[in-house]
Symmetry: D2
Subunit: 135 residues, 4 copies
Amino acid sequence: METPIYQLEFKVRDYECDLQGIVNNANYQHYYEHTRHEFLLEHAVGFDEMHQQGIDFVVARVEINFKTPLHSKDTFLSTLNLHHDGIRYCFHQKIYRLPDMKLCNIAHVDCVILDNGKLVPNCPIVDELMVSLQK
Amino acid sequence: METPIYQLEFKVRDYECDLQGIVNNANYQHYYEHTRHEFLLEHAVGFDEMHQQGIDFVVARVEINFKTPLHSKDTFLSTLNLHHDGIRYCFHQKIYRLPDMKLCNIAHVDCVILDNGKLVPNCPIVDELMVSLQK
Amino acid sequence: METPIYQLEFKVRDYECDLQGIVNNANYQHYYEHTRHEFLLEHAVGFDEMHQQGIDFVVARVEINFKTPLHSKDTFLSTLNLHHDGIRYCFHQKIYRLPDMKLCNIAHVDCVILDNGKLVPNCPIVDELMVSLQK
Amino acid sequence: METPIYQLEFKVRDYECDLQGIVNNANYQHYYEHTRHEFLLEHAVGFDEMHQQGIDFVVARVEINFKTPLHSKDTFLSTLNLHHDGIRYCFHQKIYRLPDMKLCNIAHVDCVILDNGKLVPNCPIVDELMVSLQK
């Protein structure tokens, strides 16, 4: 298993659970998005500031495989890895229930960069960040 | 009972229900917000276009009295009245379950107008709209 | 292109848009879920009633390819097809912007059936529904 | 100012912000709900376990006064006080932006207790909790 370059701890909030008593699927996209944004922010890349400068990180594709549902009161760890493949920044993300580290689900999220609405191949500030992480 | 100047029909979506099996309270604010925006839009006042022009409708106060919860599969009617009181646009809103018209909850939502972040006493386009409705 | 067996019209609600001014990605999972539930409901299969009988439709995998974002005020059509593959009910879903029918995104959502928490190969009521649709 | 009996720190998540670039109003109800549930949980009162035993905490009335909006990246403190008034458990809640402790909004949330769907005057486990807090 690849060592994650970033991880963030969460706790399930009851409003995220649906009438089946488990976290509604769409909320995992929220957890994964928040993890990506916090990761970028830790490296001084602000999602809203980039947007104000005309640079948007846009999700092109998301795939989530669900293994074990999360319930009310669960805490969990959201981990992240990142690769650059062509014009896509590919985030490999996982959610593990705490404290038993049971794998809950796995996501592959591909993002592309829009510069004032036009697709561009890369985002220099994110590339620098990736180089610095490889050292 | 005052005749509403606008009404909109909705259907509960399952993801809006929480683990109690009823619509989560916060979603009523969503229903009421969407009703206000659709009302304004019907009179050619677009919430996002106003925002792009620096004019923001901002909620200053919301009060909701909950009478009867909505469940999965329920359809309902969301009604609206509007008064201007000082610098506040006061929306009186109600949600009735269909088809029995059982009153589910009642909201008072006071909005103020920000022009490039500064509080202003009124929004001319909304005032015109209100005059036209009184005819 | 395969003819969809079900379709449902929606309108974007402003609270579904994020600070980029477009519909937040997670909301597409909501749109797709609501479309599946409405489809089942039209064939007298209620998601909450199944849950009360111990039968849960659970998403095992979701893949969404995003082409064109939806904005405030957009209306759109959500279409659905369904196949049974092993123990998975595979929903092929698409969202088209109206009225120009521009393809916004494509989803593959695989569901499995839990009977009182245990994985079972099929759900008789859904199988009957699928047979009836093929006639 | 009354000293809060409970407080919880949060960070704004970008998906909670709307196209105005500020936290959407409905999310404050989510923050306040999560604060109430965490407070109860700290005293061994689980919202979902109560529900499974037929006891539901239901919001009867919510009033929120909005002073200052929260933005992307803000952290904030959510505080809580609780009084029992007739059949209502009245939560007095506030949200302060960190680190400057600017008051963002104030909520009064009245909850009632349903025992298998019937209104009851009190919940013994919560009453015990309140007595223990006064010592």
